[in-house]
Symmetry: C2
Subunit: 421 residues, 2 copies
């Protein structure tokens, strides 16, 4: 064996409450193996940092700050929305990556992201053969959408699910208090353009101790206005109030999103609404019920203050596993969460081939959605509950979470050529 090589790590796509916990797992494991991996360079703003040679020298960060990543939401090194094309379509990008990797003696590529990133990571893993440069590429799963295949779940999802379940329960308590003379319907819009996993989590607000009427609009179920309105009316007449959880991806049979109402402002601009106000107004028009609505947007995926302990633990473990797999000589794989026992919930780390992961989207299975299309089944509840289990509070300072901001010191560039994105 020669001198230890360096590793590259980057964060990709929408960030989450726990993607930095994965980064923490990667970096701490690298620091425990300096005989095998000399240093870890992070891409500034994801893969873009590799292309433009904007690398961050993580060795300049203190152990304490790296440890604090575990409780800090968002992407500490910056993320990006940038998908590499195929090698045949844009050979220049791959050649540039290799130039940068060579210049900095990088032999390990860790990419932390969702479906698109798994595809990018898979392509990088193939450089090894096609461009004759030895690199091991490992993908670390991350996506609040929970839509990656093979793995039991995706880090980031459990914490969003907890946030939505908690928020739906809390808002439902609120509207129940107000329903006698005021608000009778509360609508919350949640993320999940194609897959309804996050919307499903709203169903957890109700359980054997808390009988709460929750009506869910999934992207997997075509919207039927009449049956939806009938369901809301039934709930309000029976409970006095109703909560509605609408996925941003809820859509009409023709595929048009509920959010696209063709509304125009006074200047004729298309109004970018949101599904929640559309659904709320629909209910008001039909029954006159007073309503309130919320759009959680980034609040849900950034909510590290109410993260799931299970999620944090798995995010960290997957980051650590990525490094362990790399040191064991693996390439073109993604560490996964394997559910080994349902009750009590138990899991271990497994692995999947990136060829099987890239460009496959996992939707809610039909048996997780109730027959009427507006709720979750017991099977779904059993799947979801372990993922929101446990609280992992960040430390607080002056009444606010004490999140870390890294120094992010740039590594000196070694290439003369710049690269235009």
């Amino acid at each position: 064996m020669g001198n230890p090589k360096n590793a590259f790590y980057a964060q990709s796509g929408g960030v989450t409450a726990v993607i930095n916990a994965s980064a923490c797992g990667v970096i701490q494991t690298v620091r425990q193996n300096t005989d095998k991996i000399a240093n870890l360079y992070a891409g500034a703003n994801g893969i873009i940092g590799a292309l433009t040679e904007d690398l961050i020298d993580t060795s300049q960060e203190s152990d304490a700050d790296i440890a604090a990543l575990r409780h800090t939401p968002s992407g500490a090194f910056g993320s990006c929305r940038y998908k590499l094309k195929g090698l045949e379509d844009n050979r220049a990008e791959y050649e540039r990556l290799i130039e940068v990797f060579k210049a900095h003696d990088i032999a390990y590529f860790f990419y932390n992201g969702g479906g698109d990133s798994a595809d990018t990571c898979h392509k990088v893993s193939q450089i090894s053969q096609s461009l004759d440069y030895p690199i091991q590429a490992i993908h670390i799963p991350k996506t609040v959408d929970n839509d990656l295949p093979i793995t039991d779940n995706c880090p980031g999802f459990g914490s969003v699910a907890k946030y939505i379940a908690v928020s739906t329960r809390e808002a439902s308590f609120d509207v129940r208090s107000m329903a006698r003379t005021s608000t009778k319907v509360f609508v919350i819009e949640v993320m999940g353009r194609n897959a309804g996993w996050i919307a499903a989590a709203g169903g957890l607000a109700s359980d054997q101790d808390n009988d709460i009427p929750v009506v869910i609009l999934f992207p997997e179920v075509e919207f039927d206005e009449q049956s939806f309105l009938a369901k809301v009316k039934e709930k309000v007449e029976s409970y006095g109030y109703c909560s509605v959880v609408v996925s941003e991806g809820a859509h009409w049979p023709d595929g048009k999103f509920l959010a696209e109402q063709g509304t125009r402002d006074a200047f004729g601009h298309a109004q970018l609404g949101g599904a929640a106000p559309v659904v709320a107004n629909m209910i008001k028009d039909a029954f006159g019920y007073k309503f309130h609505w919320a759009v959680a947007d980034y609040l849900q995926r950034a909510a590290r203050h109410v993260a799931s302990a299970t999620d944090v633990e798995q995010a960290y473990a997957l980051g650590k596993a990525a490094v362990d797999f790399a040191l064991a000589g693996e390439n073109a794989i993604m560490p996964t969460v394997v559910r080994t026992s349902e009750v009590p919930y138990a899991w271990e780390i497994g692995k999947a081939s990136l060829a099987d992961v890239a460009n496959v989207e996992k939707f809610m299975p039909a048996e997780y959605i109730s027959n009427d299309g507006f709720g979750i089944t017991d099977a779904c509840r059993q799947y979801l509950l372990p993922l929101i289990e446990g609280e992992d509070y960040p430390p607080y300072k002056n009444g606010l979470p004490d999140y870390v901001v890294l120094k992010n010191i740039a590594l000196e560039k070694r290439l003369k050529k710049k690269f235009a994105l």
Copy 2:
């Protein structure tokens, strides 16, 4: 002294994360003084319960369930939006209240609410003289809007402030991660139709350890589109991103709310938007920045999971003080929070005459708003920080907060006559 009399307690207006903590303080203190107050009857859905004789017998609740009110958001007995008219305008309502009080031997009236409720409570306190029925009326402050006079702050506000400060910080971390290739501006809409206290709390997201660009739109400052857009542009060019906190009450110089854009849907219905999407689109139209927006709505005031420990403690103490004041013979007053020391923060319970509280609204003082109108001053920060200090987490069960739902057993009615609202 004759036999101990009974007491009445009701919750009014928009509920909060800690109004039940006040209820807990009232009930536990009553239970410690059974020689002086026999029982506490709660109004089902606020003052309406007194008018319709729908009273809840709180003696049927276990000590454990009453203790759990301290960590449960919303109004455990139901609230209402219902304002009593003056005695001269609707004598029938007051006569009915007295009939109900007499029928159930009620000598103490505890009303837990905001400005309108203080007014109602004040009117009830006057029955004593004008209708010759002995009743002591004590108002317990509660409002997320923080707009009651005299008291240092209002229970409910500190927890909303903490939620908004935490959420703004978390979402700002998120948008900062994404800004290189994606979202550059995040807009969050917060409550506060007339007073900008909650919007001000968004400014706490930024501090000496976290330099975050936050632009705030207060209801106290007339909206100036050009200077607002210039401020956002300046922040994005300097930081790479920007967070905007917009109060639902932000308005144009002519008084029209930003949310009222005159938008119509495909059927010509007025579109009920929200200020956040309006502001976000305004920025997009001017500079093309990609944006995300959130509307927190009920999530902010129901968020007991991230309540301020200071707020919970004060809410409880004010409930307790209301009973103590009643036992000391007080009438027509409201217990208040008195700030006795700024650094370190210290407070004690004081009292205010309801005549001085009713129908007075406390806005943000000019010295709390920065000269440019888009931020908070150090004085404001010093006022706000103690109010969000400390965490008071609820217990969790199955990954979700274990909030109590009371049995709410109805007291047998004694009046034959019904009362039409």
